[in-house]
């Protein structure tokens, strides 16, 4: 699993937030555009790209994008 690819796929689920905002240490739930809809997009993206199921709990507990990457990677 490639971290840069994950970061890019993560960023692609946002429509308003500038790409430059996204780094591994971005606290994604603090972004203005973060919503339950974007959360569902991330869940669906992980399912489609990595064939792994993450839940609301994974999103709740991960603070940064890297946290989430690590959780997905560990599944």
């Amino acid at each position: 699993m490639d971290k840069d690819q994950f970061l890019q796929a993560f960023a692609e689920q946002f429509d308003e937030t500038d790409l430059s905002v996204f780094t591994p240490s971005t606290k994604f739930k603090e972004l203005d555009e973060w919503s339950s809809m974007v959360a569902l997009m991330i869940i669906a993206m992980v399912d489609e790209n990595y064939n792994k199921k993450i839940t609301g709990a994974d999103l709740r507990e991960a603070v940064t994008i890297e946290d989430l990457f690590n959780r997905v990677h560990a599944k």
Binding site: S36, M37, A39, L40, M41, I43, E48, T55, R60
Partner: protein, 254 residues
Amino acid sequence: MTLNSSFRLDGKHILVTGASSGIGLSICRAIIDAGGRVTGTARRQQQLSEMVRASGEGKASSIQADLADDTGIKKIASEVEEVDGVVYAAGVSKLTPLKFVKRQDLTEVMNINYFAMVLLLSQLLKNKKIKKNNDSSIVLISSVAQQIGTKSSLIYTGSKGAMSSAARVIANELAPQRIRVNTIEPGMVRTDMTAEMENILSTETIEKDRLKYPLGYGAPEDVANGAIFLLSDASRWMTGRSLTMDGGRYSLLD
């Protein structure tokens, strides 16, 4: 409690799909309480057997079958004894934003929520299993979702929209035989299916949604009470219609 007997189901035999859990199971219990007899179908034999055992001697029986294929549907239609009513409570849900919708997910949800409902009713009629000229009643558990546009719910919402539309057509076709067809369109009801949604969406999102319901979320028993009304002769002048039960969520505004 004495009750106008029109609201009771004494002597009526009702087929219930999705009888092993959630709204379907709750409807089975309510039918027994109202004096009726149930044949419950589901995939899970153990839960079905438990429902039959808890219902008491001679009150309920079960047919284990998977509605996802024609074999299961034909099994139900051939094994079930003649009924005065059918409740279609089997259903599956999936939350997917449009961008990620796959044919496989669409097919899976449409297959259970819509195709199987149509095919089961078709087979029941072909096998002459629904009593004619006797105020029989078919109740389809749809969803208030089909009246609105909740984000990410399109796979589920589309299937329930198809179900609610079909109900009107079937009601029209069966009215000459005095077989009525109505839907219940519930809002959020706490069941295993919605608990799964809660796991995906996070408890906070669900809590925020719950607060938008003037009467809070519903219980399966609330929907079951609506189903008893629609199955009973108390609703004998009602067909091709929908009973929305959503705790005031979509019609009461601040």
